[in-house]
Symmetry: C2
Subunit: 214 residues, 2 copies
C-alpha cells in the first residue's frame, strides 16, 4: 500500500529551523547549517540545475528518499507567501516557473484557491478540508506510488497526531541551535510507536530511519 | 590529556527523563523506556549482580564507554536525597552499600558535607565551589584516566556552557515521550562546536558519538 514518507534535517537539539526567521535567514538564524550536507550532493544539485557534487553515502540516501514518490503534501508555510488570504497577485511558491517536484503537490491551507499548474509537471492543489483529505487526494494522484510529506514541523506533527505517517527519516546534523522550531512539539499524550529500521553513518550527518506503527 | 566524557540515553524528541518523576517513576512517566536497551546487556548486568544478558553491538559499546575512567562527576539530583541541606540522617545515594562506580565520585551541591566512603572503592566527595572545581578534583583523582560525567541534564548543560565537555555519546532511543527533562535546554547563544565521530546502529538504539571542539 502507498505510504506517507517524511524526511527532514534536524539539529542535535531537535530544531528544524533556527530562531528569528527573516528574508535574510528564511530557515532562521543558523538554520542553513542543517542543510549544508544536502547542498553538496550531486543528486540535489542536478535537479536544481547545478553541476558537480558529492556522490558518497548521503548522496545514495538522498536519491533513495526521492524514489517511488508520486505526490507531495506540504503546509502553507512551506509553500510560502505569508499567512492569511492569497490576495489578488498571489504568491506562486519559492521555486520559480519550474519547481523541482515534477508531481502533484497538495498544499494545506485555510484559504481557498484554484489549482496552479507550473512547468515540468508540478501542479499545486490547495486543500482546505484538513490533513486526511490532503493525504487521500495525494494518494489518489500518486497512482500507487508513495506520498512525500514536504513539511514543515507543524504539518508533520499533525500527521503524527492523526496516526497517518508511515515512515520517518531524520537527518541528524551535529549542530546545537539553542532555539528555533522544534520537530517534536505538542505531542504530549500522543501514542506514537516507532521502530528503528536503519541507521546510516555519513560524513557530518547521521541518517536515522523509523517505521511508525499503528 | 584526560577527557571529560558524557554518555546518556535520550528519546527521539530530546528527553532524558519523562514528565512527573515520582517514587514509582523515578525517571518520570515512560522514562524507563530510555534504559531498556542497557538493562538487557551482559556488561550492565554483571556489575549489578545479575546473570546473563545480551552480548551484541550495544554491549560492546557499553563496555567501551565504561573503560579508562578514573573518576565520576555528578549532580545533586543524580546522587539523590532531594534538594536542600543534608540533615542529620543524610541520604547515602541510590546504590546501597557498594555502589557500582568503584572510583572517586564528586557530587555537585550547594550544601557542604563530609566525604562518604562506601564499599568497593567508591568515595563520594561533595563539591560546593562549582563545576570547574569538581572537574579539577576529579581529574586529579582519576590519575591520568578520563572523567565520566554522570548527569543529569542540568549538570551536562553547565559543563557544555563552560566549554569543559570533551566527548558526548548519545544513545538515541526510538520513543517519543512528549514531555519531561530535555538534554539540550538553556543553551541559546552558547557556541557549541560538535564533530560527529561515529554512528553505530544497534538493535533498538542508535549510538551517536561527538567530539566537542573548543
Amino acid at each position: 500500500m502507498a505510504k506517507l514518507r517524511f524526511q527532514i534535517s534536524v539539529s542535535l537539539d531537535g530544531f528544524v529551523a533556527g530562531p528569528n526567521p527573516s528574508e535574510e535567514h528564511p530557515l532562521g538564524e543558523g538554520g542553513e547549517q542543517l542543510h549544508e550536507w544536502v547542498f553538496k550532493l550531486a543528486a540535489w544539485r542536478k535537479p536544481h540545475g547545478r553541476e558537480g557534487g558529492e556522490e558518497g553515502i548521503s548522496n545514495a540516501i538522498f536519491e533513495e528518499s526521492t524514489q517511488n514518490l508520486g505526490a507531495v503534501v506540504m503546509g502553507r508555510n512551506m509553500f510560502g507567501g505569508g499567512p492569511g488570504p492569497w490576495g489578488e497577485d498571489p504568491w506562486m511558491g519559492w521555486w520559480g516557473d519550474e519547481p523541482p517536484f515534477h508531481s502533484p503537490v497538495f498544499v494545506l491551507t485555510h484559504h481557498e484557491r484554484a489549482p496552479l499548474e507550473m512547468k515540468g509537471g508540478t501542479t499545486f492543489t490547495f486543500v482546505t478540508d484538513g490533513v486526511e483529505s490532503a493525504l487521500d487526494q495525494a494518494k489518489e494522484a500518486a497512482g500507487g506510488k508513495d506520498v512525500s510529506l514536504g513539511g514543515g514541523a507543524s504539518v508533520a506533527q499533525q500527521y503524527l497526531r492523526a496516526g497517518l505517517m508511515d515512515e520517518l527519516q531524520l537527518n541528524l546534523v551535529p549542530v546545537v541551535l539553542g532555539a528555533g522550531t522544534r520537530l517534536f512539539e505538542g505531542l504530549e499524550g500522543t501514542d506514537i510507536r516507532l521502530e528503528q529500521t536503519r541507521v546510516v553513518e555519513a560524513p557530518g550527518v547521521a541518517h536515522l530511519f523509523y517505521r511508525v506503527n499503528r
